[in-house]
């Protein structure tokens, strides 16, 4: 445990009173959540607790019914998805979402924050700077030797890394990962934990994960969601010994 959580900085992400309802069903219900700078926060909870919906709400995929999401002083609930990304929020999807027809290099290049508009993309030049950045990120995600590989030939774990790498290209201030180690071998999990520790330097990371060993190895702080509400929050140990959490996970 580092002391990061105790710094009295203004949180990088402040979610207050966030609610979304689908035909009366409240998937997220009056949620409050604060994430500090340089923090690695893991959100856990049983299926249907609203974890993925929270990520959807932050990145603009789903629109909130009420409540606010402040990121670095900007209100995200009314911003367009691409502007949220440009403001510095990166999001990895549950299933690896990469461009299978393109090479690893092209996948990473696609997220390089230049040529994001029509004319920019039309006249985008692959200069030395771009190549250097792609190679740098590729090394970081253990794919340095596979730059010319077609992405659909990668293993499942490598695809997960590639998607994380695509987010790193954007150098986001807040990185959101939905089940980053799903379908990974034990070895790959350990490597991913290393990777997360390295990339959380200088940015905040919000992770949804089920694998408790993995959660233990990366989390600064854990939030337990249940029925769209925060059930418990704190260190891994305190959460694991919380009777309400035990009830939710083991009860019924």
């Amino acid at each position: 445990m580092t002391a990061v959580g105790f710094e009295m900085n203004k949180p990088v992400l402040a979610i207050e009173g966030l609610t979304v309802s689908f035909d009366g069903f409240k998937a997220v219900d009056n949620l409050n959540l604060y994430i500090d700078r340089n923090e690695v926060r893991v959100v856990i909870g049983p299926n249907g607790a609203g974890k993925t919906t929270v990520l959807d709400l932050i990145c603009g995929k789903t629109r909130a019914t009420s409540g606010s999401i402040q990121f670095d002083g900007q209100e995200l609930t009314t911003m367009r998805e691409y502007n949220i990304v440009r403001a510095g929020v990166g999001r990895k999807f549950q299933n690896p979402s990469i461009y299978e027809n393109l090479t690893v290099f092209e996948n990473l290049e696609m997220s390089y924050p230049a040529g994001r508009k029509v004319w920019g993309a039309l006249f985008f030049k692959r200069n030395a700077q771009v190549i250097a950045r792609v190679e740098e990120v590729a090394r970081e995600i253990f794919l340095g030797d596979l730059l010319q590989q077609q992405a659909d030939l990668l293993s499942h774990g490598q695809k997960q890394w590639l998607e994380i790498g695509m987010l790193l290209m954007q150098d986001p201030e807040l990185l959101m990962l939905d089940e980053p180690v799903a379908g990974m071998s034990v070895n790959e999990r350990a490597q991913t934990a290393e990777l997360l520790k390295r990339i959380s330097q200088g940015r905040s990371v919000l992770v949804i994960e089920h694998d408790m060993e993995f959660v233990k190895s990366i989390a600064h702080k854990v939030t337990v969601l249940h029925q769209g509400k925060v059930l418990a929050e704190g260190s891994m140990e305190s959460v694991q010994s919380n009777p309400k959490v035990i009830e939710v996970y083991l009860g019924h």
Binding site: K61, R86, Y99, N101, L102, P113, R116, K117, A121, M166
Partner: protein, 386 residues
């Protein structure tokens, strides 16, 4: 030099373009009589639409069933100018109102409508041929893509737009010439379009413009925007959450396809000498899709071959065995979609190219035609070494 290489798409595609150029610019003009050559010229005007569809459907995943609208609007703009030139007061003096197009006179219209007024100017017409369809595509694209109307819905809505425009053109007889369209186009700035020499020149202009469009298409596909289009087609969410305004790219490629179609329409009016609603509606629009599908939805050059072959087949069969044609056309639709989703270009890739590769001692692509549509040729081209 490198830029040029990129534009042409490497050695293999240079050969492809050279072969097509040889066929269109040398073989056809030398072997066909004036009548047949004019017919090929007509087919090639459809190739503009097919090339546009490769961009927006093959790469962008946007299946527009209303490309006839843009072909038609481009054609009508050109036809309006030509019609005004053909309707000078001298040659229309027997009308009750001389100086206006004949069909207006038949519809008891006594004054040139305001919509027609600017088409006295040739430079305005040239601008309008492209600008009006592109503006239309931009509005449709803005309305639909910004609201995220899904692919299937987009197809249905574009089809409905094609229907609306046809009904409108047919209904507004006095303004548009109705079902017959705008006919009897004679001269362009005093130059008689009906002579063989004029038709020959128009054929070459048409071919030149077509190659221009193919080069523009290549440039787009070779750029980052080309890769983005494919990425959007396969993983739209990922692109959106990588910081791109997906709608703006779709609008762009839809407008490019509209512009290509419009050029084709204008060249049609010039070469064939009329324009009518039968090139606007649902049936022609969907036929234009089949040109691209037969040629290969991922291949700009394939689209040209597709347009040529299907139209040749149509002419041949509807002359000789008219009742067979619809069976063949329908069967072609089904067969191409179900068994050859990459069309002729896909077959060439899986079979023809290997033979060529052996000749050129290049590494042949190992994959056979997969049932899923995957950009094989082009993604290889785009794979430039960093």
């Amino acid at each position: 030099m490198k830029a040029l290489d990129k534009l042409l798409g490497g050695q293999q595609n240079l050969i492809g373009i050279a072969l097509l150029a040889l066929l269109i610019l040398v073989v056809f003009p030398l072997t066909l009589d004036a009548f047949r050559l004019n017919m090929v010229g007509k087919y090639l005007t459809y190739a503009f639409v097919a090339v546009g569809l490769v961009l927006c459907w093959g790469y962008g995943g946007i299946l527009s069933l209303g490309q006839g609208v843009f072909f038609g609007v481009g054609g009508y703009c050109m036809a309006m100018f030509l019609k005004l030139e053909a309707s000078d007061p001298e040659s229309t003096k027997i009308q009750s109102t001389p100086g206006i197009p004949d069909f207006m006179d038949w519809n008891q219209i006594t004054e040139l409508p305001w919509l027609w007024q600017p088409f006295h100017s040739f430079s305005f017409t040239l601008v309008a041929v492209i600008a009006v369809p592109v503006l239309l595509a931009f509005i449709i694209g803005m309305a639909l893509f910004k609201r995220r109307v899904g692919d299937v819905y987009f197809s249905i809505v574009t089809q409905a737009i094609a229907l609306i425009l046809t009904v409108l053109i047919v209904g507004q007889q006095g303004l548009t010439g109705g079902v017959n369209g705008i006919t009897d186009l004679k001269t362009l700035l005093g130059w008689d379009l009906r002579t063989d020499s004029a038709k020959l020149l128009l054929y070459f202009i048409n071919a030149g413009l077509l190659f221009g469009c193919i080069f523009i298409g290549r440039f787009i596909l070779a750029s980052k925007l080309g890769r983005l289009l494919m990425a959007m087609r396969d993983k739209e969410e990922r692109v959106r959450f990588s910081g791109y305004d997906v709608a703006s790219f779709k609008i762009f490629v839809f407008c490019v396809a509209a512009a290509f179609s419009a050029i084709g329409g204008a060249m049609f009016a010039l070469q064939v000498g009329f324009m009518s609603p039968s090139f606007v509606g649902i049936v022609p629009s969907i036929e234009m899709v089949i040109f691209a599908a037969v040629g290969g939805r991922m291949s700009l050059l394939g689209a040209v071959y597709g347009a040529l072959l299907v139209n040749y087949g149509k002419t041949y069969f509807s002359e000789s065995f008219p009742e067979l044609w619809l069976y063949l056309m329908g069967g072609l639709f089904i067969a191409v979609v179900m068994y050859f989703p990459n069309g002729l270009a896909g077959l060439w890739d899986s079979h023809g190219r290997q033979a060529l590769a052996r000749l050129l001692r290049r590494q042949p692509p190992v994959q056979a035609v997969a049932p899923v549509v995957k950009p094989k040729t082009e993604s290889k081209i785009l794979e430039t070494q960093p």
